[in-house]
């Protein structure tokens, strides 16, 4: 029973992180697509900035993924 708490906590932590990252990236994609629709000639710059911001948000989500992996696989 004692070893199960770590696995349970890892699952809960990973799920909450995915909620936050998904919400953040979806708001980013909404603004980026609206900007590209309003001004199609700026779509190249908007696309580059969108990719960079998405990678940064994903980087934060991966911090907690590393902690969850540490919880699951280290006794």
């Amino acid at each position: 029973m004692e070893g199960m708490i770590a696995h349970f906590a890892a699952g809960i932590g990973a799920s909450l992180t995915v909620i936050g990252a998904g919400y953040g990236i979806s708001r980013l994609a909404e603004s980026a697509l609206e900007g590209m629709a309003r001004q199609p000639e700026a779509s190249g710059d908007i696309r580059t900035a969108m990719i960079i911001a998405a990678a940064l948000i994903e980087g934060i989500a991966f911090f907690s993924l590393v902690i969850c992996l540490l919880l699951s696989f280290i006794k």
């Binding site: 990719i51 960079i52 990678a55 940064l56 994903e58 980087g59 991966f62 911090f63 993924l65 590393v66 992996l69 696989f73």
Partner: protein, 285 residues
Amino acid sequence: MTNLLSATTASAANAAAEAGEHAGGGNDAGAIMQRLIEHVYDHPVITIDWHPFGWEWLDLSITKLTLMIWIAAALIFLLFRALASQQIKKGTRGRYLNFLEPFVLYVRNQMVYPIMGDKMGRKYLPLFLTQFFFILFCNLLGLVPFMATPTANVAVCATFAFTTLFTIIVMGMVEQGSFAYWKNLVPSGIPWPIIPILFPIEVIGIVIKCFALTIRLFANMTAGHIVILSFLGLIFIFHTYFVAPPAIAFALCIYMLELFVAFLQAFIFTLLSIIFVNMAVHPEH
């Protein structure tokens, strides 16, 4: 939850002969996943027991990831040797060099020169080209069968980020003067009681930014492999053949996503390094 899992495995227990390689070590889900995840770990190929200076913590054995780093470096040297020795001239040069040249020109014209300017950018261009291509080749090597990803190890990613940290601090002190660099970390027009609060935050900020670089690269590479191994592990957990086609289809889609992530992470690492080095060598007023 464990009751349901043991019931599943017990009902398909007569198909246990199919899991021939994994039989005998424990057929529950945890042991199977543990053995699959061990594909991500590192194994020594040539064990070297000699410790310099008697440091017992320094393990110099040649592991599989060390071999992968050597292979990546040799590949970069062999592939780009012909391109680097060409003189600059107009006109086509053949399909092979025309394939490699846009990657180099993209890093130079769209990443380094717009942010750092022409003169300063030309000075730091070799570092960023090396970082971009080395990380890209290390990431892509993990997608070849029977090979490993060097950047799926924290030490390798920390080494890449340490080169950025070294460049920030050392070249910042060289470009701006040794004492002026630390003085310019704090903006000039603020009242003096705030300086003891702001200065440690700025110094720790530099270290935290490089730490974020390593964790982003490491976690992206490791997570891709673990997801693929988890999908393939579902086949062994359920002990039936019917799980195999959807599991392999999912694993294939994640594999294609990992190919995109390999390029993207090399690009993001190099771009953030360019921005940090630019902030260090160009004093902002």
